[in-house]
């Protein structure tokens, strides 16, 4: 080994490499600072995304519950419509029976009147 005094280029190159190394370390520090800042933003974004996902899940459950409630109400409404239709049919039937009964009553009254008249005639003849 001879030494640096015999090779000034080596000394110059080593010095420049040293400066370059320091610059590289500075760049590394800068990058790490920026990355740390980005990570904080990333964490915030994670929290927001998580909250959004939770909210979406809650809304989905609420939506499902409401949909089930609507379906139940629709089924109840259909059942009530059926009952109403049956009740109306029954009312129609009862009205028909009532009219028949009124007609029968009128016939019976007419028969009674005829019978009374007949009886009165027979008693009159007796």
């Amino acid at each position: 080994m001879i030494g640096a005094q015999d090779a000034p280029e080596i000394t110059k190159a080593a010095a420049l490499v040293g400066v370059g190394g320091v610059l590289l370390k500075f760049l590394q520090w800068l990058l790490r600072v920026f990355d740390a800042r980005r990570r904080v933003q990333h964490d915030d974004l994670d929290i927001l995304l998580k909250a959004q996902a939770e909210m979406r899940e809650e809304l989905r459950k609420d939506n499902e519950a409401l949909r089930a409630r609507v379906e139940s109400l629709e089924a109840r409404a259909t059942a009530l419509e059926d009952e109403l239709r049956k009740a109306r049919a029954r009312v129609t039937e009862l009205e028909r029976e009532r009219e028949e009964l009124i007609a029968t009553k009128a016939e019976i009254e007419a028969d009674l009147r005829l019978l009374k008249r007949t009886l009165a005639k027979e008693h009159g003849t007796l």
Partner: protein, 152 residues
């Protein structure tokens, strides 16, 4: 200073830094490390194989005046060996350290070539090697890679 003028500039710089960081995070460095370590090991093998490499190439004259070929061969073996082992065992800290050493090593050769024989085609080659190792070093300086989430 007027913040209305400075703020867009800072935002622009932040966007550039974000793009650089994004590119770095998505870059795989293994092949670049392999190239550097094997080249250093090949240099070491050539320097150990005979005492005539430096005399054949005038650009290494300055290196020969400073130390013998075997000493430089030993340095190359150390740089290449450490980088190879670190790459092989996926040791992040040593990979980063070896990349820093390799960046300095290639830069040293590039600067020396420029000082001894200015403006040869060897300059961009070795400068490129050095730059790639610097990128590897910066890439490995970002702790624990995690999936990138685009803010948009």
């Amino acid at each position: 200073m007027n913040s209305a003028l400075v703020r867009p500039l800072i935002l622009r710089l932040e966007n550039v830094a974000e793009a650089v960081l994004k590119t770095l995070v998505r870059t795989d460095t293994t092949l670049i490390e392999f190239q550097s370590s094997t080249t250093f090991l090949a240099f070491a093998a050539m320097m150990f194989s005979g005492e005539h490499l430096f005399s054949n190439l005038p650009i290494y004259g300055a290196m020969q005046r400073f130390a013998s070929e075997r000493v430089w061969g030993l340095v190359c073996l150390l740089l290449g060996g450490v980088q190879s082992a670190a790459n092989l065992y996926h040791h992040r800290h040593w990979r980063r350290t070896a990349a820093f050493g390799a960046a300095c090593g290639w830069a040293f050769i590039a600067i020396l070539i420029e000082l001894v024989t200015p403006w040869t085609t060897a300059l961009p080659v070795y400068a490129g090697f050095s730059l790639m190792q610097a990128i590897v070093y910066l890439r490995l300086s970002i702790p624990a890679p995690r999936p990138w989430v685009d803010p948009e």
